[in-house]
């Protein structure tokens, strides 16, 4: 249960950072923390006591209890790639905004937009 709680803490930290931090780049960092939080949560679902890494060794026919659940791991590979893609695009946007408006502070940006 405590592992899940840490995931929830990271998630809340991320969402709070996104909403409250004034600088767009720091919002992006917070967004990444939020996405990592969800990944931590999924991976903690995959854990089985007394199970090993979900890669087949030389042993006999594999038993479900011996190995960890590979499905969340697969899902989280996708989630990590999604998070890096979004971050890459966002950084591209920020570079463009910075070169065009010379600031990444949200309030000053909104003033320039008005």
């Amino acid at each position: 249960m405590t592992t899940y709680a840490f995931a929830a803490a990271l998630f809340t930290l991320g969402i709070a950072g996104m909403a409250l931090l004034p600088n767009l780049l720091r919002k992006l960092l917070a967004m990444n923390v939020m996405q990592v939080a969800v990944i931590v949560f999924f991976v903690s679902l995959a854990f089985k006591d007394g199970a090993t890494v979900p890669i087949l060794g030389q042993g006999g026919a594999p038993q479900a209890a011996e190995f960890m659940n590979p499905l969340p791991h697969t899902l989280m590979l996708t989630a990590i790639v999604v998070s890096v893609s979004t971050t890459g695009l966002a950084l591209g946007l920020l570079v463009r905004i910075r070169s065009r408006f010379e600031t990444l502070n949200e309030r000053r940006l909104l003033d320039k937009l008005r």
Binding site: L10, N23, R26, I39, A46, T52, M68
Partner: protein
């Protein structure tokens, strides 16, 4: 590895602390570095939990690539958050 295992909790706590610091710090490069640390701590925790593939990916994709991109953005824009 019982759930209450010290290392797992310790790592999780370190992750939360590094994430919080990354968000709190004012300088972009320090933030990028702290975020890199946060990613690598997460990768270690994944490895601890047996998710080796995810750990591998998180290390090189989340840890290395994202940090490089953040640092290069720092060079493209300004080091201080305004």
């Amino acid at each position: 590895m019982a759930e209450g295992h010290l290392i797992s909790i310790g790592l999780l706590a370190a992750m939360v602390v590094s994430a919080a610091c990354a968000l709190a710090v004012k300088d972009l490069l320090t933030a990028a570095a702290l975020f890199g640390a946060f990613s690598f701590l997460t990768a270690t925790w994944f490895a601890l939990l047996g998710a080796v593939d995810v750990a591998f990916t998180e290390a090189c994709v989340g840890g290395a690539l994202t940090t490089i991109l953040f640092v290069s953005t720092a060079f493209r824009t300004s080091r201080r958050f305004d």
